[in-house]
Structures are given as C-alpha cells and as structure tokens.
Symmetry: C2
Subunit: 271 residues, 2 copies
C-alpha cells in the first residue's frame, strides 16, 4: 500500500474531467491537481514551449511527494511527454497513450477517428501510438480549435446552435470516413460528448481519455501494490492564475461541487 | 524631431492591426512590436496577472530606447494601464482611451455600444472613460468570447456561417438598444468589421481602436515635435513563442506581407 497522492496536471481546468474519473475509480486516493491557468491554453504553442511548461508542472507536483503523475493535457501528452517521462523516478502517464490503447481495443473495422487541438492533431504522436499496436489501422484526424472556447463559454447543452453548427462541420469528414471509434483527444470534449455522440451516431464508440487513463493508472498501481486502500481520499487544487472563479468552472468539469483546498501558486523560471 | 522608435505590445498578434494603422498614418516611424504569444490570450486572466504581464512587456520594449508605448491590447488597456503608465518617463497610451474619445465624438444619440473580451467587458474602464467625457452617455456592453478564436481560426470572410451565427447572437441586444456607435474593443475585431458592420447596419459607426490610437499618438508626437521625419521607417517584431508561423498570421493582421526582422525573446520573471 502507498498512501502518497497522485499528481495530475493540465494547462487549465479541462484536466478535472480526468480527476472526476480517477475519483470514481479510486475513491481512496489523494489527488494533487495543478491547472496552469496563468498560461492556458497550451494548444497553439510550440513543442519546445509545451515541454518546458510540462517540466515546470511536474516539478511543482513532485514537491508534494506524489507516487505517479498524470499528464491530463492532450497537448502535452502528444508533444513528447514520453521523452521527459524517463527523467523521473515515478510513473508519468499521458492521456494519449491510454486513449490510443483503448481505441485499438474497441475498433472493429480498424478505422479510428481522432479530434483534438491544433497541436495534438499536428503531432503524429497518436498515429505512432495506434500504429504500434495495430499496424493496419486507418487514422482519420481533425483539429477542432473552436471546441475549447465553446465549452469554456458554457455552450455545452445538446442543442446549442453554435456547438451544433461547429460540431457538424468538424465531424463531417470523420463520418464520411466511416470510423467506428472516435478518440476525444482533449480533456474538454467529454463535456460535449452528448452532441458529438449524437452526430456521429450510435455505431461509433467514443473514447474518453479521462476514463481510460484512470483505468490505466489503477492497473499500474494494483500491479505495484501501491493503491491507497482507504475509504475516501482528499483533493487539493492549485492554479497559476486567480483562484477566485475556480469553484464555478471546476464543478462544471468535475460534475460535482468542489471539495478540498484551492491555492494560487507560482511556477518555474522566466517564460 | 525624435528618431527613436515607437514600442507597441499586445498579448498576441492582434495588435498588428494597430501597427498597420500607425504605419499608414506615420510611415516615417520605426516600430518595435512585441507579441506575447507564449502567454496569449490575456483575456480570461486576472487583473493582477494582466498588469504583471504588461509591466514585463513594457520593460522589454524600453530596452530598445523607445519614445512612446502603445498598449495595443484591449484587455491591458481596460485593466489598469493608466495606473502603471505614470511609472514611466515616456507616454504610455492604451487603445481604450483613444477609442472612448472617438466614440464620444462620433455618437449623435448618446448610445454607445462596446464589444470586447470577457476581461474588457467585466472591467468598468470604458464606462469610466466615456462617462468622464459625456456624462449623459448610455453604454451597452457585450462580451464576445468566441470572436478571437473565430478570427484566429481564419473564419473572417463575410458569409462564414459560424461567424455569422455567433455575430448575430452577440450583436442582437446592441441593435435592440439602438446604439449609433459601436466600439470594436479588441484588436482582432477590425478583421471581421465587414460582417459586424453589415449586421449592425449603415447607421452605426464602427470605432476601430487601432485607427484611433494611431491618430492620438500622431497628435501627441506632433505637439512635442517628436515625429520622425524620414521617408520610411522600419519594423522589428518580437514574440515569446515560436517565430515560425509568424509571417503568415502577421500578414493577416497587417494587411500586407511582413517586412522586417522577427525574433523570439524571453520575458520577465516567474509566472
């Protein structure tokens, strides 16, 4: 048994959709969450900047004596997280690996769709991860740069006309390509999974990377006999911009009201 | 005559719409532009963070021996730029002051509309600036958080269905309020002025803050006999993220191909 917390980071608050899944699956774990809200979004930034930020995020989490790191940021997990993971003595897991493995398990026709930010789609990380597991897979990708601002603008209700128009445009070619599995390659997307699923149709399996990484981390901790076997763990939240509006936005992603402390912190070196 | 350059900064590349206007009006001036693309956007950040970033931006520009600073960022110019302007021995002008004065000059019925980012609209800076000049003015405000991502996604053509749907929703209450003047309170908005103007109708004057600040700076330099009276000045561009994609996006905002050097720089202290 290992009672040390699990560290989770994201460029903003979208990674809380992972925290939601981690808590559902492993309610006994303590969780330390870092949202780099002072520098959100990472999506349009260069690979070099993204990895510098990721290193600073992990360094902060490690000050809390954590037993594992979850990179709950689609952009970080597709821009070289595996390159820096080896620099740490604890497991560092990215959402993209978990989602790629899940998509390969789910697909029947080998046609896998992927939606994400521009940086996630520009990278070939998902292609490499999927093709390593299923060399015959056909991957159809689409950047959906307006989905994050739409979610953050609160337009998440199925039927919102702006969400509907944008989603129909983004998903059209994925439908035409007859994918039977669609990876939601950004932690914001589970909030609009209702609309995405309806447009794609019931024959398409949606892969929620938060749910998949929670299962992956649980499996790894179980194998290492490192699960925290207590009734209920705690959550502590850290952000790099004002903590004022945190509770309202966070509860949107967590699906429940925020319990636990919220603090503002300072990260890293010069930008 | 003062041949030192004018410094211009913005959170990203939107402020290049101001550079475009400065060059049209004062072709002899040298211009140093800083786009803080590593930390863009400022719009959703706290006032404290916004002012910290602004101080770092101005400190960088001042290393180039400039004669004036233009805060070509709607968010900075409505979140306390006047509080920090007094800390510098050279003029520091924000786009909001220039736009507020222009709106007061233009309106006939005293009903002034304002559109901008969430942070610009949340602040009462525009209200205070307008009411100081025209106490009887009625100000109608609307945050348009999707306009920046829509412009950055290249959806600027009049007739783009997403732009049209979002613009109609955002502008509806401003039309109902019978404003005769509308301040484009974000440097990205001149790129969609065609659509905004068509929806508002020909009776509504649009105030482009880039054009207004260029006129204000020119007037100030003239009064101080500090205009650079040469045929053609140069432009130097600095960004805080990758300079790779700069030329393409920059030419969108400048309206002409980029001439002059582009360099990546590091700013300030810890975030």
């Amino acid at each position: 048994m290992d009672l040390r917390p699990i560290g989770v980071f994201d460029s903003g608050l979208g990674g809380l959709t992972c925290v939601k899944r981690l808590r559902e699956l492993m309610p006994g774990e303590d969780i330390i969450y870092l949202g780099d809200t002072g520098r959100v979004p990472y999506g349009g930034k260069s690979r070099e900047t993204i990895l510098t930020y990721a290193r600073q995020d992990i360094a902060f989490l490690r000050r809390h004596d954590i037993k594992a790191v979850v990179a709950a940021c689609g952009t970080v997990s597709t821009n070289g997280i595996e390159e820096i993971a080896g620099d740490y003595p604890i497991p560092v897991c990215g959402v993209a690996d978990a989602a790629a493995a899940a998509a390969v398990r789910r697909t029947r026709n080998g046609r896998i769709g992927l939606i994400g930010t521009k940086a996630s789609i520009r990278s070939t990380a998902y292609d490499e991860k999927i093709l390593a597991l299923m060399p015959q897979a056909r991957i159809v990708k689409r950047a959906c740069p307006l989905f994050v601002p739409i979610v953050e603008d609160g337009r998440i209700g199925d039927g919102d006309p702006v969400l509907e128009l944008v989603a129909r445009e983004y998903l059209e070619e994925l439908k035409k390509a007859d994918v039977d599995t669609l990876i939601l390659g950004c932690t914001h997307y589970p909030l609009i999974a209702g609309t995405i699923g309806r447009i794609m149709g019931p024959q398409v399996a949606l892969v929620d990377s938060g749910a998949e990484i929670a299962a992956l981390v649980k499996g790894r901790l179980e194998r290492e006999d490192a699960l925290a076997e207590r009734r209920k763990g705690t959550c502590s939240y850290f952000v790099t911009d004002s903590a004022e509006d945190f509770a309202q936005t966070a509860s949107l992603f967590l699906g429940v009201p925020v319990e636990g402390s919220v603090k503002r912190v300072t990260l890293g070196e010069a930008v």
